[in-house]
């Protein structure tokens, strides 16, 4: 047998040669001093390379749990989870294409939504509560002052909200829109709204009110808010699957409060995927559809690895609830508005100005 080449020698030392071949190499080495010396050299090289790679290793951490000790149900659940997910992926794809085709006209609608909304909140702030604090000023501030100086248009609640409602809910859903318009007048509605607020706070395990600076620290970035709408309060929240949650409450008008929930995803714990189970395909289509429709977010999601797998969206509370992903933040908006309007608001969110 001729001398052993480097590749064969490494395969030999790695224990990756077929038995017969390994035997041949062993026999040759036994009677060839030159190859024996090389074996030692290459063995040292392999060890050294391994040592160097070990220098470039991440810090050892405890293995995150993988449904510790309970493997059998896991298998069964995979099976249950699999079909709906495949389903949803198809639906999302279809929606994605749909929203892409429809995006041209939507851009226009957007502007018409943003303007009246921002205007309206300024009007209301200026007109009915001049002393109200507006700590988060926007570039548009001077315009507010001007409006306040001019005799305010009679703050008749009916026509203005109607305008907003028209803009926010451009088609369909007029019944819901009217219901929303009326909330300003009816105290009963206010009570139910308060309950709803509390529901949201409960869902996200709201802890305490925090300052904007704390919110920045918690999130590691500026919280996202709907620009031009006064911030009433900021809370810190907790939720499984998220390493940081900040909830910003903004007053759309004197009786309508929305919450912008900024949630930073924690690394996905596999246990959650399995335990949660799959919701009905229809509702999944809805929540991921919202994600897809959120302008701009679509491209980000597609390009972003940070976009967690579909299983991530399986939390029950994301059903029917608009969701947008900005960087590594998930943004939800809740409030007593039709989901169409919430989705539109969701597209307006921007990092809060200092």
């Amino acid at each position: 047998m001729s001398h052993v080449d480097d590749g064969t020698l490494h395969a030999y030392l790695d224990g990756e040669l077929a038995p017969a071949e390994a035997q041949g190499v062993g026999a040759h080495i036994a009677q060839c001093p030159a190859c024996r010396a090389r074996v030692e050299e290459e063995r040292a090289l392999i060890t050294r390379a391994g040592e160097l790679l070990a220098l470039a290793a991440p810090p050892e951490r405890e293995l995150p749990p993988f449904r510790a000790g309970d493997v059998r149900p896991l298998k069964r659940l995979w099976w249950q989870v699999r079909l709906p997910l495949a389903w949803a992926a198809t639906v999302v794809l279809a929606l994605g294409i749909g929203s892409y085709l429809g995006s041209g006209s939507r851009a226009v609608t957007d502007r018409s939504v943003a303007e009246p909304l921002a205007d309206r909140s300024r009007e209301l702030v200026a007109a009915d509560t001049p002393a109200r604090l507006m700590p988060y000023r926007t570039a548009a501030e001077p315009r507010v002052a001007k409006r306040a100086a001019a005799p305010p248009a009679t703050p008749a609640p009916a026509p203005i909200p109607q305008r907003v409602a028209d803009a926010v809910v451009p088609r369909a859903d007029t019944a819901t829109a009217r219901a929303y318009v009326e909330t300003g007048a009816e105290s009963e509605a206010r009570v139910s709204e308060r309950n709803r607020l509390e529901d949201v706070r409960d869902l996200w395990k709201t802890e305490s009110a925090i300052s904007i600076d704390s919110a920045r620290r918690v999130l590691g970035t500026d919280p996202l808010v709907v620009p031009g709408v006064p911030i009433e309060a900021i809370y810190r929240g907790r939720h499984i699957g998220y390493s940081a949650v900040v909830i910003v409450e903004q007053a759309l008008d004197s009786s309508t409060m929305i919450q912008v929930i900024n949630a930073r995803s924690a690394p996905l714990a596999l246990g959650e995927v399995v335990v949660t189970g799959a919701p009905a395909p229809a509702s999944r289509a809805d929540s991921t559809g919202a994600l897809e429709r959120a302008g701009g977010a679509r491209a980000q999601v597609a390009s972003s690895l940070g976009a967690k797998p579909n299983a991530r969206l399986m939390f029950e509370e994301t059903r029917n609830r608009p969701l947008r992903r900005v960087g590594n933040l998930e943004i939800h908006i809740s409030g007593p508005l039709p989901s169409d309007s919430l989705q539109r608001l969701l597209r307006l969110v921007q990092p809060v100005k200092p």
């Binding site: 080449d5 480097d6 590749g7 064969t8 020698l9 490494h10 395969a11 790695d14 990756e16 290459e42 090289l45 392999i46 050294r48 390379a49 391994g50 160097l52 790679l53 220098l55 470039a56 290793a57 991440p58 810090p59 050892e60 951490r61 293995l63 995150p64 993988f66 449904r67 493997v71 896991l74 298998k75 995979w78 989870v81 699999r82 997910l85 690394p267 996905l268 714990a269 596999l270 995927v273 399995v274 390009s303 972003s304 690895l305 940070g306 967690k308 797998p309 579909n310 299983a311 991530r312």
Partner: protein, 167 residues
């Protein structure tokens, strides 16, 4: 019959994190990506989970690196000031510089050599590496021997270069 993923998780998770770390050079990110790879495996239920995980992980790391490069371009504009590292202990600095040297040495390998070396170090067999990289099984030994030699040489050369620069 698909492999039992829980078992694969137990035996492969750390190797997968290590593999990813040597591509993205960020421990947190590596863990995130590894967990996402497993979450995807839960959904896709691949036939051979281990090999599949490394393929998915390699793809994710590549996309991640592209994005990171874009973000870095922005960041360099903001961090022109050198960071103060005096607070770090000498030992930590030593570990860090070793790591950086190995990173630099790995960078000098050809992508194929580096991939094969990292996969081997992650515990994949020649068979699995061949399947993943598209190389012939018989070529893996040769590739590995070359990759190991270059890694050690590049590391030593880098170290020597630093000493010359200092002295």
């Amino acid at each position: 019959m698909p492999q039992d993923l829980a078992e694969v998780y137990r035996t492969t998770y750390r190797a997968l994190v290590r593999f990813l770390y040597r591509k993205v050079w960020d421990a947190e990110r590596a863990e995130d990506l590894a967990q996402e790879a497993f979450a995807r495996a839960l959904i896709h239920k691949p036939e051979s989970a281990r090999g599949w995980l490394f393929i998915v992980a390699a793809n994710m790391a590549r996309d991640d690196a592209r994005r990171a490069a874009r973000e870095r371009r922005h960041l360099t504009l903001l961090t022109a000031e050198p960071q103060d590292s005096r607070s770090a202990t000498d030992e930590a600095l030593e570990v860090e510089s070793d790591r950086a040297r190995v990173q630099a040495a790995l960078d000098e390998l050809s992508p194929r050599d580096r991939e094969v070396l990292l996969l081997w170090d992650s515990g994949l067999s020649y068979e699995e590496i061949a399947a993943q990289t598209g190389l012939a099984r018989g070529a893996i030994g040769t590739t590995l021997s070359r990759a190991r030699r270059r890694l050690v040489q590049a590391y030593e050369a880098g170290k020597a270069g630093e000493h010359v620069a200092r002295g």
